[in-house]
């Protein structure tokens, strides 16, 4: 759960953010000092410095904005030149210490502290701006003299050299108001009462048991009397006593059933209310971000010399605190980006016939079971032609590649890491840090982005997100005797299609539904479970994704259920095809399937079909040889798509994954003829993936081609020494050359 930030002052928020970011930065810097070539850590440090600078700007501490800017500049230079001098690491650590030391200050103490530090801050900024020639060559102990006196209060931050958990791992807390807590306590008390009532029922059952024994004894006595042929009067008397004992027992049983039903209903009601109440503590108003965004718009407007009004729509929309917490920084980036790049200056607006004051609208709403959050402006929108030129100028794609891309694909470049439309770096933009944060965040929340570009009239970016991260309405499916869940929000409909009507197009099973062809694949083989022989009707679950529609064949549907999702063990990283887990009423675990993973396997490549014993479904399937299968492991959306298109056009079946971990999962779960991998990727880089492939008996001989921007001889050697069969440099990327290299390797 997250911290409820609504009751904190801006300075408190700044201090919290500084405390949160500086611990991780110190650890990362020290790691970087010992292992200089870690671009992912540099990128993460850049983001942290960027966030610190932004936070300092919001609270109006110019001296710290300057420091954050200088730190960011230095880290940016380190990214470009792939080196960081010893003096720079020292200065960066001192800079982190400065931000960390603010966490112990009271609001009142801030001005005096700033004044006392001004000379030292200037010195530090100068040190960061200075180019030192010699890179740090060997690990140096991280003994950094503190620029500022160590905080003495109990709120002092952790020492600079104390490793701290990353932000995601830090223990989280939740503030509840007294009413919510009272309500929860009340429900807990009631739950205790129900529990005691169940104890009383257990006692009643004991009495019922005694009563049953009396009935049994009376029946035995009657039986003996019958054997002894006692007189009819005595038999009747005994029969009466049996009847009375039975009636007492039956009455007690009736009362018990009534009481049990009542207590069960009561218990169920309380459990539901308790669950809803606890769940509601996770929800908050979207309007909680209003103050932050309005202040940001005002301050950024002043900085850029633009006048703007920011309007919040749907402030009362209920949002999961975790979701809101995680989209707050992306929203800030989007607002800053809209003001810097989207909104024109007053004179330009007036000349274009627009109101002098720019308008930003940040809105939230629930739509089709999902949360949609949009940031829209009435600025100039994106000039697609200029964007294409910029992409080419930054070497991110060739003009020929861009010519083949749609407008939506070109707009996707705005969300790529290090892409910027600015030549000069300013305090608000130009480093390429920003919209890629939005993309990363949305992907992390299993959501998607939508861009509505209106050239000359503005741009709206919409984040489509799950309403809650903890409770999901799901359809339960049975496949091969196992039960899985699929989020209802991602399902289009359920179909029952005669098996005899299934057709095959290019090796992919297709169902003809309502006048259109729908590709489908049996889910069992994808998940590695053996489905039973199909009956006369196929049960298909149609799924809609950004990439299109497809269907999965399942054995049976078990109905809808609200599932409380549980995070998977962090050591699993990201299991393939699994998004989360939940627990069924009977205590069995249930896996929630990852629609994006399934879509990548089924909709694009038809992998599900080719992996399947398709003859189960189509005895008449022609025995054509399957095309070669290639796995592309690449974190850059653009490069990934280009590689996919080139290889698909070359007749290969292509699967794509976005980092080494997913790549490794894919390699472990299906058979490939070739892996094409990048080197620099989050979570697991290409060299580590390659080492794992070579270390694994089953994949030892799998051909691997590295495709990387790194064109130095030592990079090439490192790749080949790790076991790559071919090293392909992206800067010399030509479609024909790539295809030729792949053909050389696997034919």
């Amino acid at each position: 759960m997250t911290v409820d930030l609504s009751s904190f002052s801006m300075l408190e928020l700044f201090r919290m953010e500084a405390a949160q970011l500086t611990g991780g930065m110190t650890t990362a810097l020290i790691d970087l000092e010992n292992h200089a070539d870690r671009p992912a850590q540099l990128a993460e440090l850049m983001r942290c410095a960027h966030s610190l600078k932004g936070a300092a700007r919001i609270v109006g501490i110019d001296a710290l904005v300057g420091l954050g800017h200088a730190m960011e500049d230095r880290l940016s230079a380190a990214q470009r030149h792939n080196l960081l001098a010893e003096q720079h690491v020292d200065a960066l650590l001192k800079g982190v210490d400065v931000f960390a030391s603010t966490t112990a200050l009271t609001d009142a103490a801030f001005p005096a502290w700033l004044e006392a530090q001004s000379a030292q801050l200037a010195e530090l900024i100068k040190a960061l701006d200075t180019d030192f020639p010699a890179p740090r060559a060997a690990p140096v102990p991280a003994q950094v003299p503190a620029l500022v006196a160590a905080p003495t209060s109990a709120e002092a931050p952790a020492p600079a050299d104390t490793p701290r958990a990353s932000t995601a791992q830090q223990q989280r807390s939740l503030r509840l108001d007294a009413t919510q807590l009272e309500s929860l306590l009340s429900l807990a008390r009631e739950s205790l009462l129900v529990n005691r009532a169940h104890q009383r029922q257990a006692d009643q059952l004991q009495r019922l048991h005694s009563s049953q024994r009396q009935v049994s004894r009376a029946v035995e006595r009657l039986h003996e009397a019958l054997q002894l042929r006692l007189p009819a009067e005595q038999l009747l008397a005994l029969a009466d006593s049996v009847g009375q004992a039975h009636r007492r027992s039956a009455n007690a049983l009736d009362a018990h059933i009534h009481d049990h039903a009542h207590q069960t209903r009561r218990g169920h009601r309380i459990a539901s209310r308790l669950h809803q109440s606890i769940h509601s503590t996770r929800m908050t108003r979207f309007g909680h971000v209003e103050a932050t965004l309005k202040r940001l718009a005002r301050d950024t407007g002043q900085l850029l010399g633009k006048t703007v009004t920011l309007e919040i729509q749907g402030a009362d929309t209920r949002v999961d605190r975790d979701v809101l917490d995680r989209i707050e920084a992306p929203l800030m980036h989007m607002v800053r980006n809209a003001m810097d790049h989207g909104l024109e200056h007053t004179a330009q607006r007036v000349a274009a016939g627009k109101p002098a004051c720019g308008r930003l609208v940040v809105s939230a709403r629930h739509y089709r079971g999902q949360l949609e959050v949009s940031v829209g402006d009435d600025g100039a929108g994106v000039d697609i032609a200029a964007l294409r030129q910029r992409i080419v100028a930054q070497g991110m794609a060739t003009a020929a590649m861009l010519a083949a891309m749609s407008e939506a694909e070109v707009l996707d470049f705005l969300f790529l890491p290090r892409f910027t439309t600015r030549d000069k770096v300013s305090e608000t933009s130009g480093r390429g840090v920003g919209l890629d944060v939005v993309q990363t965040c949305v992907q992390g929340l299993r959501g998607r982005l939508r861009v509505n570009n209106r050239p000359g009239a503005g741009l709206t970016i919409t984040l489509v997100l799950p309403v809650s991260l903890s409770l999901v309405r799901a359809l339960l499916l049975q496949v091969g005797g196992e039960i899985y869940g699929l989020p209802l929000s991602q399902l289009e409909r359920v179909l029952h299609v005669p098996v005899s009507s299934a057709q095959w197009i290019a090796g992919q099973p297709v169902a003809h539904v309502n006048g259109r062809d729908l590709s489908w694949a049996p889910l069992g083989p994808i998940l590695g479970v053996a489905p039973p022989p199909p009956g006369p009707l196929l049960t298909l679950v149609e799924i809609a994704t950004a990439g299109g529609r497809f269907a999965l064949a399942v054995d049976a549907l078990l109905g809808e259920r609200d599932l409380a999702l549980q995070a998977l063990d962090a050591r699993l990283v990201k299991p393939v095809f699994v998004a989360a887990a939940a627990v069924l009423d009977d205590g069995r675990p249930l896996l929630m399937l990852d629609v994006a993973d399934l879509a990548s396997v089924v909709a694009e490549s038809g992998a599900g079909a080719s992996q399947t014993d398709s003859s189960d479904y189509a005895p008449a399937l022609p025995g054509m040889p399957l095309p070669k299968r290639v796995l592309v492991v690449e974190d850059s959306f653009t490069v990934r798509e280009v590689e996919r298109k080139v290889l698909s056009a070359g007749g290969y079946v292509v699967d794509v994954t976005v980092d080494g971990v997913e790549g490794w999962n894919a390699v472990c779960t299906r058979s490939y003829d070739l892996v094409v991998t990048d080197i620099d990727m989050p979570r697991m880089n290409g060299l580590e993936l390659l080492r794992r492939i070579r270390a694994n008996e089953a994949t030892r001989h799998l051909p691997v081609m590295i495709v990387s921007y790194k064109d130095r001889e030592e990079d090439r050697l490192a790749g080949l020494q790790a076991g790559a069969d071919r090293y392909f440099v992206k800067s010399g990327f030509e479609e024909a050359a790539l295809l030729e290299a792949v053909t050389d390797l696997i034919g």
Partner: protein
């Protein structure tokens, strides 16, 4: 499994090196309580400090892509989803020949190995109780034991008429973690 397996020279040296190492301090001082558990026809034991719970057996769910691995699924244990491991796949105990061979009074249990966020759940066929380890009773593993088991064992001992393999909790945890990470 033959009783006349040849001993590779390198293997023999490896054992000699392993058993030349002193026992961990607590085990050497006889301060360790052992928790024996049964898998098939064999009995194993681990230090009780390496086990955080023994609970009723539940029904795990298999994770796609991990079928056939030692760490292969998830198990619901007291409101937590714990990674499920198949110790039979790891330790390769002699299997029961038929249902009729299952001794009476056996109760399947799930042992939770490790603590906090680093746990693994494994189904075992029975947990008869626990006892204090007598370091003097610990002897080297027989030459016929599977190499995978030898690599995880502190040694063998006899207690209450039952011969059992004493596993090193740390090595067992490392082996499960390696399997989880996909190490070959």
């Amino acid at each position: 499994m033959t009783q006349h397996q040849g001993i590779d020279q390198a293997w023999q040296q490896e054992w000699a090196d392993q058993y030349a190492q002193p026992l961990p301090a607590r085990e050497a001082r006889g301060q360790t309580m052992l928790l024996p558990f049964m898998l098939g026809r064999e009995t194993f034991a681990v230090a009780t400090r390496d086990v955080s719970a023994a609970t009723e057996a539940g029904q795990p769910v298999a994770l796609p892509g991990r079928r056939g691995r030692v760490v292969w699924g998830l198990l619901h244990v007291e409101s937590q989803l714990v990674l499920a491991a198949d110790l039979k796949r790891l330790l390769q105990p002699a299997p029961l020949k038929a249902d009729a061979e299952i001794p009476r009074g056996r109760f399947a249990r799930v042992l939770i190995f490790g603590h906090g966020l680093e746990t693994f759940a494994a189904a075992v066929d029975d947990v008869p109780g626990c006892f204090r380890l007598d370091p003097a009773s610990l002897s080297p593993m027989p030459v016929t034991a599977p190499a995978a088991t030898v690599a995880l064992a502190l040694g063998q001992l006899r207690h209450g008429g039952v011969q059992m393999t004493v596993l090193d909790g740390a090595r067992l945890h490392a082996a499960l973690t390696d399997d989880l990470r996909g190490a070959a």
